[in-house]
C-alpha cells in the first residue's frame, strides 16, 4: 500500500482566487488521480495525472479550470482556478500501483475547500 498526504488539509478562499493543492506519496506509484466530492454527493474523478505530460481530464472538467502537474512518480498538484462558491468541495488525491485503473486505489485525507 501507499501512504498519501495532502496539503493544505482545508482552506477558506475568496471567489476569483486560485488554490494549489499538493499530493505527496511515500513511494512511487504508477497512477495518480484527482477526485472531487461535493457536499452530499459521491466522489467524481476530475482527471488522471500523467507523469511528465498533460493530465487526462474527464468530461465536464477542463485544464484551464483545474490545471494539474505531475513532475515525478510521487508528487502531483491540482490547482482550482478562478474559484466560485460552486467549487466548495473536498478534493482528494489517490494513487495506484496496479496497471488496471479499476483496481485498488489509495486515497489521501482530502482537502476541504470553502469558497466565499
Amino acid at each position: 500500500s501507499a501512504v498519501i498526504s495532502q496539503k493544505p488539509s482545508r482552506d477558506i478562499c475568496q471567489r476569483g482566487t486560485s488554490l494549489t493543492i499538493q499530493c505527496q506519496v511515500d513511494s512511487q506509484v504508477t497512477m495518480m488521480f484527482w477526485y472531487r466530492q461535493q457536499p452530499g454527493q459521491s466522489l467524481t474523478l476530475i482527471a488522471t495525472a500523467n507523469q511528465g505530460s498533460e493530465a487526462t481530464y474527464e468530461s465536464g472538467f477542463v485544464i484551464d479550470k483545474f490545471p494539474i502537474s505531475r513532475p515525478n512518480l510521487t508528487f502531483s498538484t491540482l490547482t482550482v482556478s478562478n474559484m466560485s462558491p460552486e467549487d466548495s468541495s473536498i478534493y482528494l488525491c489517490s494513487g495506484s500501483n496496479r496497471d488496471r485503473v479499476e483496481e485498488t486505489q489509495y486515497f489521501g485525507p482530502g482537502t476541504r475547500l470553502l469558497v466565499l
Binding site: I4, S9, G40, Q41, S42, L43, T44, L45, E58, L92, S94, R100, V101, E102, E103, T104, Q105, Y106, F107, G108, P109, G110
Partner: protein
C-alpha cells in the same frame, strides 16, 4: 445519470448484529466492484472487492455478494463492531476504465 446508487443514506445497527449495505448499478459493462470505508477527516480506504466472474468474496468479517442479473451488490459485516461506524462507498468500473462511486451510506453501530 447515476450509474452507481446507494439508496440508503444511513443505517443503524446494534453491536454484534449483521450490517447489510446495498448498492445497485445500471451499467451492465461494469466488471469490477469495490467497497471503501471512510472515517471523518480521512480519505476512503479500500475494504474489499469482487470481479464479475464471482458472486461472493469473503475477508474476515466482511463479505461482498454480487448478483449480476439484478445488477446489485451488497456488503455484509458480521458481527458489527462500533469501530465499523463510518461512511461506506460502493464503486464499480469497466475493464481499464475509471471507478464510478456511489454517494455513500453512513453506518452507525450502537454499543
Amino acid at each position: 445519470d447515476q450509474q452507481v446508487k446507494q439508496n440508503s443514506p444511513s443505517l443503524s445497527v446494534q453491536e454484534g448484529r449483521i450490517s447489510i449495505l446495498n448498492c445497485d448499478y445500471t451499467n451492465s459493462m461494469f466488471d469490477y466492484f469495490l467497497w471503501y470505508k471512510k472515517y471523518p477527516a480521512e480519505g476512503p480506504t479500500f475494504l474489499i472487492s469482487i470481479s464479475s466472474i464471482k458472486d461472493k468474496n469473503e475477508d474476515g468479517r466482511f463479505t461482498v455478494f454480487l448478483n449480476k442479473s439484478a445488477k446489485h451488490l451488497s456488503l455484509h459485516i458480521v458481527p458489527s463492531q462500533p469501530g465499523d461506524s463510518a461512511v461506506y462507498f460502493c464503486a464499480a468500473a469497466e475493464y481499464g476504465n475509471k471507478l464510478v462511486f456511489g454517494a455513500g451510506t453512513i453506518l452507525r453501530v450502537k454499543s
